[in-house]
């Protein structure tokens, strides 16, 4: 009977020791596993939240890109329009400049003729004076014609230069 008791006690001790070791090891491994699982889950949630935020950034960036493209297109169209207006202004201004130069030269010639006319009159040289008058009248008529054209082209310059533009 005593041997049976001793055997049972020994078995009990062994089982208890095994249970203690198993339980302790199991608890430790379970704790580590839970900790790792929690950490991994937290990491996953963070990454998913970051991904959602970045995807929202993509949408915002695409909208910004669409706006920027539209703005650039408007700017390009405005630039083209302004360029065309500037070219038209340039052509009209160049024509006006040519007429101005012609008119200036004619007026200068007419003024010189007039000076000569009055000098001849002061001298009493009526023949020379009359000859100079014909020249002065010719220059004067050409000058008037040039100035008329200059007035006309100046209106075109003012018109194309004052064309509405896209406000940058």
């Amino acid at each position: 009977m005593n041997e049976r008791i001793v055997s049972t006690q020994r078995k009990g001790r062994i089982v208890l020791a095994t249970a203690l070791v198993s339980f302790t090891a199991g608890a430790a491994v379970l704790g580590v596993g839970l900790s790792q699982q929690q950490s991994s889950q937290s990491q996953l949630e963070q990454e998913q939240a970051a991904l959602v935020a970045v995807e929202a950034d993509v949408d915002t960036a695409q909208l910004d890109l669409a706006k920027a493209k539209e703005q650039a297109l408007d700017a390009a169209e405005s630039l083209g329009s302004a360029d065309a207006e500037s070219l038209a202004t340039l052509r009209a201004a160049a024509e006006m400049l040519d007429l101005g130069i012609v008119g200036r030269d004619l007026s200068l010639g007419e003024a010189n003729s007039a000076e000569k006319i009055f000098a001849a009159r002061l001298r009493g040289d009526w023949d020379e004076a009359n000859a100079l008058v014909d020249e002065a009248n010719l220059l004067g008529n050409l000058m008037v014609e040039a100035f008329d054209q200059l007035w006309e082209i100046s209106e075109k310059v003012s018109e194309v230069a004052a064309a509405p533009r896209v406000d940058a």
Partner: protein, 242 residues
């Protein structure tokens, strides 16, 4: 050898029950005939007879049992060991279960970590896409800003041309007015000569026509200067247009 009195209950054996071990009296215990002490009172009937004390004495109580050593009482009984074994086995099973569960959780966490890495990689791709789009936005905004700057430059140059053209027109007007004044004064002088007033004509030419002619020449010089400014403005516009 002296014996210790046992209670009837203590002598009764039960199946599987461990008997309390009997305890022998120590060898140096005093014999019954000897009194352990002269002052002590013998309590056995034989001792009382020897002492001549014939007064009735009570029999010692058979229930008085000396307490066993404490170590013997602490020993678990057999059924307690079996419960302990069963509990131990259960605990071991639970422990193994926790062990297995922990390992499973570790593998599961590795899977979750891999998934998180995948999400991070996807986020990196999306980040790169965002950076690319932002770069395109910056390029488009830069192009728009450059176009707007060019428009401003063109507008300014065109406005300069228009201003210079206005100045030319003002100069032309002044030239025209000066010319008309000269023509009118000249016609007046001619009318004087036609009327035979040659002295009056000369005086008119000297006092009126010549200053007007000088003003005419001056207006032509201003006209020339206006044309130069106009040419410069046109050159600037031509430069920005090209």
């Amino acid at each position: 050898m002296a014996t210790v009195m046992h209670s009837p209950e203590a002598d009764a054996h039960k199946p599987g029950q461990e008997d309390f071990p009997t305890t022998d009296a120590p060898d140096d215990a005093p014999p019954l005939s000897e009194s352990p002490s002269s002052d002590s009172v013998p309590d056995s009937p034989a001792a009382l007879l020897l002492l001549g004390d014939d007064s009735p004495r009570e029999e010692p109580s058979p229930e008085v049992v000396p307490a066993p050593p404490p170590a013997l009482l602490a020993k678990p009984r057999w059924y307690q060991n079996r419960i302990a074994i069963i509990a131990g086995i259960a605990a071991a099973v639970v422990g193994l279960g926790m062990l297995v569960g922990g390992v499973v959780l570790m593998f599961g966490s590795a899977s979750v970590s891999a998934e998180a890495d995948g999400v991070a990689a996807e986020r990196s791709v999306v980040d790169a896409e965002v950076a690319d789009v932002r770069g395109q936005v910056a390029a488009e905004e830069g192009a728009a800003a450059e176009a707007f700057t060019a428009i401003d430059t063109l507008a300014a140059a065109t406005a300069d041309v228009a201003t210079a053209a206005d100045a030319v027109l003002v100069a032309v007007g002044n030239v025209w007015d000066a010319r008309i004044a000269v023509v009118d004064a000249g016609n007046a002088s001619v009318a004087q000569s036609d009327a035979g007033d040659l002295a009056g004509e000369r005086d008119t030419i000297r006092t009126e026509v010549k200053p007007l002619l000088a003003a005419y020449q001056e207006s032509i010089e201003e006209f020339t200067q206006a044309i130069k400014d106009f040419r410069l403005a046109i050159a600037s516009l031509q430069e920005v247009t090209s």
